[in-house]
Assembly symmetry: C2
Homo-oligomer: 428 residues x 2
């Protein structure tokens, strides 16, 4: 009975687990710090109040309960002893025959960890809820204040990073401020909300073709989003961002820029790239340790590709499946197969009826692209229940222009926690 | 133009606002510390993972946007100067012609505020999320531990207070542990979960008839809930509760016992009862200050009744409407009418197909009562959208025995916060 230990229940981990589930001569232990699998591509919709947390996340135990040979533990990994084949966790040691590391990435602030409290990233549900809270609190404070300078700052939102997540966040804020919020406030005009995407590279959406990126820029501008390219953020504080000699005063800054692999590759003493990702062999194992595999965002896979594969759900899913299959092959006495990424294309949505889709040389934009985006995301959602409920929520929002889940949930659970006082005057 | 200020967007505040909305010669300012109206009767279902937060809460701005004369501010009230007719808030002073206080209640720990961190109550969404987190974390830790004493403590849940909320919480934990969770864990049997209701009075559900309360007790027992009556909690700590000389070791304690009105009556120097509720006149105004009304849980109304009216949604809704109508009457030069409570009965659910309903002398129990409970709650839900989505969720859960929203959302938004270490050994 071979013991396979999987660390991380994201797209890579869960797909590896499914390949190995209910197979003979294999038992599996899956460890995650969260108790849920997250459909990351739609997490920004939770942050933007369009979906609830339960629509994009599914408890790992639910997903894996049909596999009798899988045990799930909620816990975190501290190190790996690859010589002794032992995983060190916060609840003890676990020995393995095969290890699959799929711990993902966290946000990286280019050596400025102090920026994090002013500019949350978007990787787990608690961050989505926090981003939602900050956006809605900014509008509430703007409604209360009579100071025009303060109000302007409160109605300014900066998204750092012009990749798909940054574009989706900024586009959603643009759409929400232009179409949804305007009728809800008496003292402010949410249509005056200023939104910025600040991107260090010469253009946004660098992984897409220049033509599609240009169309997306135009669509963002129509939603009131100003796209600043060639703009490297040099400081972030509680009142805004500094871009060299330029400055934007903003109460809300969101981080959609760099990521860095979860710190475990460094501890293990294996080869990592600049972002902390573990460099893997063609079969996704670590050089010299054929029983240790790395998949998903944590892996640096650069075979047969110009660049290392990007941190995307399809890459992670395919890698997870390949790792699972290769372990199965080996247990059955067959040889391993190298990993080959099957590029299914990429897409990003900007707003209502607007998206960009790029599948090989097939590139399109607009409402057909948006509809494609929608269908693909519904199709890939984790469970049938999620598909039904997300479709219903989207249908409802589409026809009512509403964002139903616009609740501010306090960070503290105590009744009526002390609130941070906002420096405002009473008006009415 | 008379300025009506409403403090609190619960059932009393929102119903008063609706009576006065879009009326001539009246402008309204509604202030709440939260940005949402909460359908409190179903909050326990959010705590028990049966519904999402968005299913039971609606942003106040959405609910009131159709009334042109209502301004909403998110803020909190610090005091009232009834002589100058000024409300003191954390964002400045607001003068009023009429004031409606409907601030509600918070949990009261009988002088032991230090119990709160070990036994959260259930009044706002953040508390529901925290209760959910504690329950699910207890099962996760039980799955990890190999220490049988620790495991027993982790699988023990104590609900303090045997009113409708306590019964609904305990019944849900019973049902979840007996029917839903059992297939999800490999090392523990969730059916062995111990659940206690600890009630100081001689019986639970004191507001119901003894016969119905007895049927409810039997139904709870069938779900594995032990009902301890005549049991006054004398201490609560991180490891359990003390009841005189007896002790229950429990990792999770929930508080559904005493409540106390939000501390503002005391500051205002008006007559309050033992629970801090403001004693009101027959028209719900404060004696000597006919322009100041109190409604909902914050009011002590004992005219034409044996006891002060209980803190229930129907009482609060009716009081809010009466206050609104009386202000309208006065503005139009008519006289006020005294408040008369129209008793629509009370109900509580214990579990699948089991509830108790008492409407006057009409008392019933079982699946018909459960179906009545279900219809009444759907009917009274705040918006049409909530009705549709809650009905869908319930339908889904009923036929699949599932609790879909069983996500643990961390209290902190930072990526992978340091977790409290659980003292366990590795097992597999």
């Amino acid at each position: 009975m071979k013991h396979v230990v999987i660390v991380g229940g994201g797209f890579a981990g869960i797909n590896a687990a499914k390949e190995l589930g209910n197979r003979r001569d294999i038992r599996i232990t899956l460890i995650d710090r969260k108790n849920y699998h997250l459909f990351q591509p739609l997490l920004y919709q939770v942050a933007m109040s369009a979906l609830g947390a339960g629509d994009v996340a599914e408890p790992l135990r639910n997903m894996l309960s049909k596999y009798k040979n899988i045990t799930v533990f909620k816990g975190s990994v501290e190190n790996v002893d690859m010589e002794k084949k032992i995983l060190l966790t916060d609840f003890g040691e676990i020995s393995y025959d095969y290890l699959i590391l799929a711990c993902g990435v966290k946000h990286h602030y280019f050596g400025h960890d102090e920026w994090e409290e002013h500019a949350p990233g978007l990787k787990i549900i608690a961050q989505a809820t926090e981003i939602r809270r900050r956006i809605m609190e900014a509008y509430e404070a703007a409604e209360r204040t009579v100071d025009p300078v303060e109000r302007k700052k409160l109605l300014t939102f900066v998204v750092v990073g012009g990749g798909p997540t940054g574009v989706e966040l900024a586009g959603s804020i643009g759409e929400m401020s232009r179409f949804t919020l305007s009728k809800y406030y008496k003292h402010i005009d949410p249509k005056l909300t200023r939104i910025f995407i600040v991107e260090a590279a010469p253009r946004i959406l660098g992984s897409f073709s220049p033509k599609l990126a240009s169309k997306a820029t135009r669509a963002l501008e129509q939603l009131g989003v100003q796209v600043w390219t060639n703009s490297m953020v040099t400081d972030v504080d509680a009142n805004g961002v500094q871009i060299g000699n330029e400055r934007i005063e903003a109460a809300t800054v969101l981080w959609a820029a760099g990521v860095r692999a979860i710190e475990i590759g460094g501890k293990m003493g294996v080869e990592t790239d600049r972002s902390g990702r573990i460099v893997v062999e063609e079969d996704l194992s670590i050089s010299g340790y054929p029983e240790v595999f790395v998949g998903g965002d944590q892996a640096h896979f650069a075979h047969h590709t110009d660049d290392p594969l990007p941190g995307m759900a399809p890459v992670a899913s395919q890698q997870g499946r390949t790792i699972g299959k290769n372990i199965l092959n080996e247990v059955k006495g067959r040889t391993r197969k190298p990993f080959r990424y099957k590029d299914k294309g990429q897409m990003a949505t900007i707003g209502r009826n607007k998206a960009i889709v790029e599948i090989g040389n097939f590139k399109f934009f607009g409402s057909f692209a948006w509809f494609t985006w929608l269908l693909v995301h519904i199709y890939y959602l984790t469970t049938f229940k999620h598909r039904v409920f997300v479709l219903l929520q989207w249908g409802w929002s589409y026809f009512t222009f509403g964002h139903g889940a616009r609740l501010i949930v306090n960070k503290e659970w105590r009744f009526y926690p002390d609130q941070k006082k906002v420096n405002v005057e009473e008006e009415s």
